[in-house]
Symmetry: C2
Subunit: 520 residues, 2 copies
């Protein structure tokens, strides 16, 4: 069975649908080629006369608030993922919806985590029709097996803001779990037992949803300062005993890698950046929270410290290592989208140079620019890369949906995008003739660093020139692929049916690739 | 000549037009009676592909930026008034428009000041068609004499946000003078030679205008932190030598009154608040920046200090007295809309408890509530009050437009609104049978404090009860009027033609009153 009569080949040669869940879709046209027309989404005009003059919007329960918001069949319900795997709120929404007999909801999280596995039963019984957001772990496998009623739609963080802003996704009801809130709905992520740092992933939801519910376990008197979410957008506030599991919100355990292989990748990447002249006084970078990325940050720090330089800004996800850089004066600012540990939360709360960003400021492609394009270098991961530097970040070599896009697509717009990846994982080569799913076009991916060599995108003649006398093992991507295949053999491709179970949106809302049902 | 065929009597018995400058208008229906329908304004969707990837939006000159924005006949051009009488930018826009031969512009400032008097020549020669915003001093007289081509529209700060948000006013081109900006257009008011504290009055302009130009005299590298205005809304950045005259932006001279009459008003007001039980641990207030208001704040401080209490928040306009309260711990927060002196700017910059607000958070009536309704007591001024407690704040007893509405209408929604006013000014009674212009309905005005007695609105039986054994001279408003008339005689009314030269909008966009041409 193929749900699609209407398939086209997009500018990357990928076959994508022109209709998704009954809505028209535009195929990917190339970077910057699709120019949007029309106007942004226009929320309903409301009146303060319909809200309590004393500012007290507290409802007795989440169910009461959902009922007041008119929860009904077919609605789009959004949540954010700042609590990561410690979220205790999202599942409750659908428990209540199920109890009320509500059907065919569209769940629109900014990301999903293993803690959301219980929602599978609601995907099965029709409470939830489909998910637009990341489908990870068990949810990913469920989707990959073709079990979800609708087609999953994966977007980057910036693409999610764009989709809401442009009216591509209309949120009927946003539920914003907030570590601290006042009765008016002003809320933040820096205080309270479930402190997660910030609430930027819920910004679009607050601005554009018809109805907004803030759920907190730390109600403070007005004013809740800082007000990362403005109560002026909020309809109801609900107080629960516990909205998140702190130790799962902030891991506190993210440490630099001790793996010799990964340390090698980190060292090679840092050396590459240095030799390419990317590291300079006032440069900017985004590494990330993985062990390799953390190690790269530490190499960067050493270089800056030794030369008396400092970065102008570092993009977070923040953690103790980035906070140390800020406190040591090795970076002037952290521009942060999410905090990964308690040092990040503390620094975000107390240090005005640790700056709260949102997908709007950092990533939204349908704004008058966004910050992602100014970053000198970003270090990202990938599950697969092809010989044209196209990369995959959502499916695994077995074809299963593995994780969401996050800010990955948005970050590709930096001045230099580097993917430090092992040449093979579990004896499966990572560099292929063709990736399972294209999430990012090769022309935006500049450098692949593997333990056996570094491939520079041929488009980056400037980088090739700078590295021509390097001691680093610069090779062609074809050479790297051949080396990997020598060791692992040519990998077998996963088996897919024709059925499209999910699509990957590009940052401009066009469809860059399709994910097909896996035949195991 | 009467420009209006269509006049109606609104819910306050005032005759108002149903069409203003060719646009339909809704008469005032009563507080909270008009319920808006439809959707907010929807700005055009743009693409980052059309903006420089390095984030550098700097244009060579203001003219170049205006030309790039397509400045042309009939456009609506907005500016903000955070520079007050020290603004050096607004006039330049219209100098350029005049030089280019552009006609029929609508100037949409958040307020105007005497420094804008040079714009009269452009109102005369047709460069500017009319003003929607405050028309003060010379501009007010020009309007009152019927010389402006279109009809002036006066709105409160909250009403201005509402009008833009609701699409009642479409801004073609916003020019935001910013004390500090980066090349991307992120900007703030806390740093730079023209520091004015914040830029909240330009928020709606940045969000909803088709084109946005930031003009600065302090360009810093990305990121400009804090980013009170987001560069993601900005099209062009212009660097000028000087955008404001600091000593006129921050007066630095606002001092408590030494006038015995005013001190008496201040003392009576503070005593009233105390006896009414309004001052309590955790209360909130908004006084203002005039000499009387400052003195009231000082009385409040004394009461709090003596009793070991503190305010939960004080609403600014801020100045050194409010900052002292914050620094002494007599208030937990300042929620500030504009800073009036250098202490205000410093505190806003350095103290996280001195919080940047905007007309959106504080005042917008077409939001899901706003902060104005939670304030325990606000102290405001008025030019005239009638026996039904309706008050005027824009015209003088000679009928001339005197000043804008500011946040006055919005603040009336507080839990207790007190107007400390002299019983007469220049031998003209201030309490009248009917005010020249109704800016605020009497049912929102609770107490009139004059040097010869205090009148409590009969609707506030709670306050009357609390004050029944007071030593304060509580009288009826009729008694106060009679006393004034005994001294000054019954005042003569100014002479007006039928012609409507301006209208006063209520916070919900309806028309509360008309201003007619003065016959001198």
């Amino acid at each position: 069975m193929n749900k699609y009569d209407k398939l086209v080949t997009n500018a990357l040669g990928r076959i994508v649908p022109t209709e998704i869940n009954g809505q028209p879709a535009i195929p990917y046209m190339g970077i910057g080629k699709y120019r949007p027309t029309g106007h942004k989404a226009a929320p309903l005009i409301v009146s303060s006369a319909d809200f309590p003059a004393d500012g007290n919007k507290v409802s007795a329960s989440l169910k009461e608030a959902l009922v007041k918001c008119g929860l009904k069949d077919g609605m789009t319900i959004s949540t954010h993922h700042h609590f990561r795997n410690g979220d205790l709120v999202a599942n409750q929404i659908f428990d209540i919806a199920h109890e009320m007999g509500v059907k065919d909801l569209l769940w629109f999280p900014s990301a999903s985590f293993p803690c959301h596995e219980p929602l599978i039963k609601y995907l099965e019984d029709g409470t939830i029709h489909h998910i637009e957001g990341s489908m990870n772990g068990a949810l990913g496998k469920f989707t990959s097996m073709g079990k979800m009623k609708g087609v999953g739609v994966l977007r980057s963080h910036g693409g999610r803001y764009q989709a809401v802003q442009d009216g591509e996704v209309h949120i009927d009801l946003a539920v914003i779990a907030a570590p601290t809130s006042d009765p008016f709905g002003n809320s933040n992520g820096v205080n309270g037992p479930a402190a997660c740092g910030l609430l930027g992933f819920a910004l679009a939801d607050s601005q554009y949803a018809d109805k907004v519910i803030v759920v907190t376990d730390n109600l403070v008197p007005f004013p809740c300062i800082p007000w990362q979410i403005h109560g002026n957008y909020v309809d109801h506030v609900v107080v629960l005993d516990k909205i998140g599991i702190p130790e799962k919100i902030v891991s506190g355990t993210t440490e630099v890698t001790k793996s010799p292989d990964r340390l090698l990748l980190a060292e090679m990447t840092a050396q590459f950046c240095d030799e390419a002249g990317i590291i300079r006084d006032g440069f900017s970078f985004q590494a990330g929270a993985g062990g390799t990325a953390l190690s790269i940050g530490i190499y960067f720090s050493e270089i800056l410290r030794n030369r008396g330089w400092k970065a102008r800004f570092a993009r977070g996800g923040s953690n103790k290592y980035l906070v140390q850089m800020l406190e040591e004066g090795l970076t002037e600012y952290i521009l942060d989208g999410q905090t990964f540990d308690l040092d990040g939360v503390r620094s975000m709360r107390d240090n005005p140079r640790h700056v709260n960003t949102s997908p709007f400021t950092s990533y939204n492609y349908h704004g008058k620019g966004n910050f992602a394009t100014f970053v000198d270098v970003v270090i990202l991961g990938a599950t697969e890369v092809d010989v044209n530097f196209n990369a995959n970040v959502v499916t695994h070599s077995d074809g299963l949906l593995l994780h969401g896009i996050g800010g990955w697509q948005n970050c590709l717009f930096s001045k230099c995008t580097i993917l430090p990846i092992p040449l093979f994982r579990d004896r499966m080569p990572v560099i292929l003739d063709e990736v399972t799913t294209v999430c990012g076009p090769g022309e935006l991916i500049d450098v692949i660093v593997t333990e056996r060599g570094i491939a520079i995108n041929p488009r980056r003649t400037d980088l090739i020139e700078k590295l021509k006398n390097s001691s680093l093992p610069v090779k062609s991507i074809q050479e790297l692929k051949t080396e990997a295949e020598k060791i692992c053999g040519k990998p077998e491709k996963p088996k897919f049916s024709d059925e499209i179970v999910a699509v990957i949106k590009w940052v401009d809302g066009t469809v860059i690739d399709s994910v097909r049902r896996v035949i195991l």
